[in-house]
């Protein structure tokens, strides 16, 4: 069953078309990430689901009910805001149970739910503190607590981890994911961090300029990007794109200039066609210059994180990035050979940017 169904949703801000023909089905119990660069409409879409934004066309259903014009309080959704939005004049317990008190639930039930949420999130000792007396991580937990106390139909997360430091962010990532597995509630998670999306979600929706570019399982997006944008957005470091022309035989392409290096495409493409060859940094293998095969490139810069080495190089006149596990030494300007399995090449049309 689908918990959220969005059909042909459009939203205009005056002349600005913020969301274009959004179609999205979110099955009950799934964890969906909305991802895209800033201004792509991901937060707007989330706020539309919450009822904080109106839309100009289409239908939105939550648990089968049309919600188009219902106010937020009739949608039974909980939201965790980027800024946490804790009520500063209420202590942690009252912050978490505000929604229950509004619904006039019995006193014992409120207390019990607050306790169990506080237990889950490790907030038991902080129940009588005010938000200003909490650290960033604790505030984040209270914001989560406020959502889980309600036991809502849908959880909405609006970049909840972006205000935390790197270490805490990684820890909360796992915690949110575990929480989701335990509660099993449908969650929609907005982020601009593709690693967050890839690691947490079981379904990823990539947006750009108000349009859904591609949706699917995280590894599907990684393996089979529908267009150049998704290919470049998913994966870190980004995919390299090199302009090329398919040779007469239809199975190889010539990189850069007419007399450039040839690369095996591993499949049949219309001869003479202009293409963009996409290569993920982690799929390129660095070989010594003395090798007989492979693409010839020159080293420009090496960056090592200890466990990984990132090489900036120049291939057929274009800058590319290669990443490799372990360490290596190479001087600037040194020639190397790069090898890639034709299986791992992604081809795009330079005009439409769609995958070939």
């Amino acid at each position: 069953m689908n918990q959220i169904e969005i059909d042909d949703l459009n939203k205009h801000y005056g002349a600005y078309h913020a969301l274009r023909d959004i179609n999205l089905k979110i099955p009950a119990g799934s964890f969906v990430a909305l991802i895209g660069p800033s201004g792509c409409g991901k937060s707007t879409l989330l706020r539309t689901i919450a009822g904080l934004e109106k839309f100009t066309g289409g239908t939105l259903r939550i648990a089968g009910e049309v919600m188009n014009t219902r106010p937020p309080r009739e949608r039974d959704v909980a939201m965790v805001f980027q800024s946490y939005a804790l009520y500063p004049h209420m202590d942690v317990e009252r912050n978490m149970t505000y929604s229950l008190r509004l619904k006039r639930r019995p006193r014992e039930e409120i207390l019990e739910r607050a306790k169990s949420a506080a237990n889950t999130l490790g907030l038991t000792a902080l129940l009588s503190r005010k938000p200003r007396e909490l650290s960033g991580g604790q505030r984040q937990r209270v914001a989560m607590g406020r959502a889980i106390v309600r036991n809502p139909k849908v959880f909405l997360f609006d970049e909840p981890l972006s205000n935390l430091d790197a270490e805490l962010r990684v820890r909360m990532r796992g915690e949110i994911r575990r929480l989701h597995e335990r509660l099993g509630a449908t969650s929609v998670y907005v982020t601009h961090d593709q690693i967050e999306a890839m690691t947490m979600a079981d379904y990823v929706v990539v947006l750009r300029a108000g349009r859904i570019e591609q949706q699917g399982a995280p590894l599907d997006l990684y393996d089979r990007p529908a267009n150049r944008f998704v290919a470049g957005f998913i994966g870190s470091p980004s995919m390299n794109f090199l302009p090329a022309r398919v040779a007469e035989d239809g199975r190889t392409a010539i990189l850069g200039e007419a007399d450039g290096q040839r690369i095996d495409l591993g499949r049949e493409v219309e001869p003479g066609r202009e293409i963009l060859v996409g290569m993920r940094p982690e799929h390129l293998q660095i070989r010594p210059a003395s090798d007989a095969t492979g693409l010839q490139a020159t080293v420009e810069l090496l960056e090592s994180t200890g466990s990984m080495t990132f090489m900036e190089a120049r291939l057929a006149g274009a800058p590319i990035t290669v990443s490799q596990a372990g360490r290596m030494a190479a001087a600037r300007g040194e020639p190397v050979r790069l090898q890639i399995d034709p299986e791992n090449l992604r081809l795009f049309d330079p005009a439409t940017e769609a995958a070939i």
Binding site: R47, A50, G51, L52, P71, P72, R73, V77, A78, M79, F81, Q82, S83, Y84, A85, L86, Y87, P88, H89, Y98, S99, L102, K103, K130, P131, R132, E133, L134, G136, R139, R146, R150, L156, N163
Partner: protein, 270 residues
């Protein structure tokens, strides 16, 4: 060292500001001849306690009551209308908001002495002069409303919009979110501005002087002005009257001033 200099500067400024207040109380306690004595005495050797006499003689009870009625009325009207106006001007942003704000500020520019004649004519035609205290209340409310809206609006601007949205998602209606989340958080701003409005209205002169003819309905400021005539200059009486008039205001202000300095919204975000 720098701390002590700053402290000294602060103390001197406070002394300069408070000197007139001190002089008012001291003069109220002096006798007629002692007031003009040179060099002046800074503490009267034989203080005269004629507060009770001045209070009764000048029927201050009635004056102060009228001032209070008008000030409370003005504050009530302003808070009810102004809070809503300030909130909508803080939340809605478009071309018309700027126009509205500009108009509101323009009204603040017009002085009471300019407005009083048209108001008198208008109120007279509407029959409002039959209830002169109501007329003054309305006129004064219209005047101070602009100040209230402008100050309160900036308070509302400081309440993050996310808090309201969180309240909506948590199950509040818009009105519920306004009263249960927004107003409590803007409480200090509302309170401080209301006190300002109250004090300003408590000391209102021009409208009361012009719109109220009945002496029993007149306000304390107008009563004070009666001391100054062509022949008599009863400085001791003026200062005693002023002391009685101002002391309650001072007490209210001192009691509330702690509220004025506290950041309630700290901790809402991040």
């Amino acid at each position: 060292m720098k701390r002590y200099i700053l402290l000294a500067v602060a103390l001197v400024s406070v002394a300069v500001y408070l000197f007139p207040l001190y002089w008012m109380y001291v003069t109220a306690l002096k006798s007629g001849t002692e007031i003009f004595q040179y060099p002046p005495t800074f503490w009267p050797p034989h203080p005269q306690w004629n507060f009770r006499q001045v209070f009764l003689q000048h029927s201050m009870a009635s004056y102060l009551w009228n001032s209070l009625v008008i000030a409370v009325g003005v504050t009530a009207i302003t808070v009810v209308i102004g809070t809503g106006a300030a909130y909508s001007l803080a939340r809605i942003r478009n071309r018309w908001t700027s126009v509205a704000l500009f108009t509101v500020l323009m009204l603040q520019v017009l002085p009471s002495s300019l407005m009083v004649t048209p108001l008198f004519v208008a109120f007279n035609q509407m029959g409002l002069l039959a209830t002169p205290r109501l007329a003054v209340t309305l006129a004064q409310a219209a005047k101070v409303l602009t100040l209230y809206i402008v100050i309160c609006r900036s308070t509302f601007l400081q309440v993050p919009r996310e808090l309201e949205e969180a309240a909506l998602v948590d199950g509040n209606s818009r009105i519920g979110a306004f009263f249960r989340i927004i107003v409590p958080l803007a409480r200090n701003g509302i309170l401080v501005t209301s006190v300002l409005i109250f004090l300003q209205s408590f000391g209102e002169f021009v409208y009361s002087r012009s719109l109220i003819s009945e002496k029993s309905l007149q306000t304390a400021t107008v009563g004070l002005s009666e001391f100054v005539g062509p022949q008599i200059n009863d400085w001791n009486g003026i200062m005693t009257y002023s002391a009685i008039y101002i002391t309650p205001i001072l007490i209210v202000f001192v009691l509330l001033q702690r509220r004025i300095v506290s950041g309630l919204t700290a901790g809402a975000l991040k």
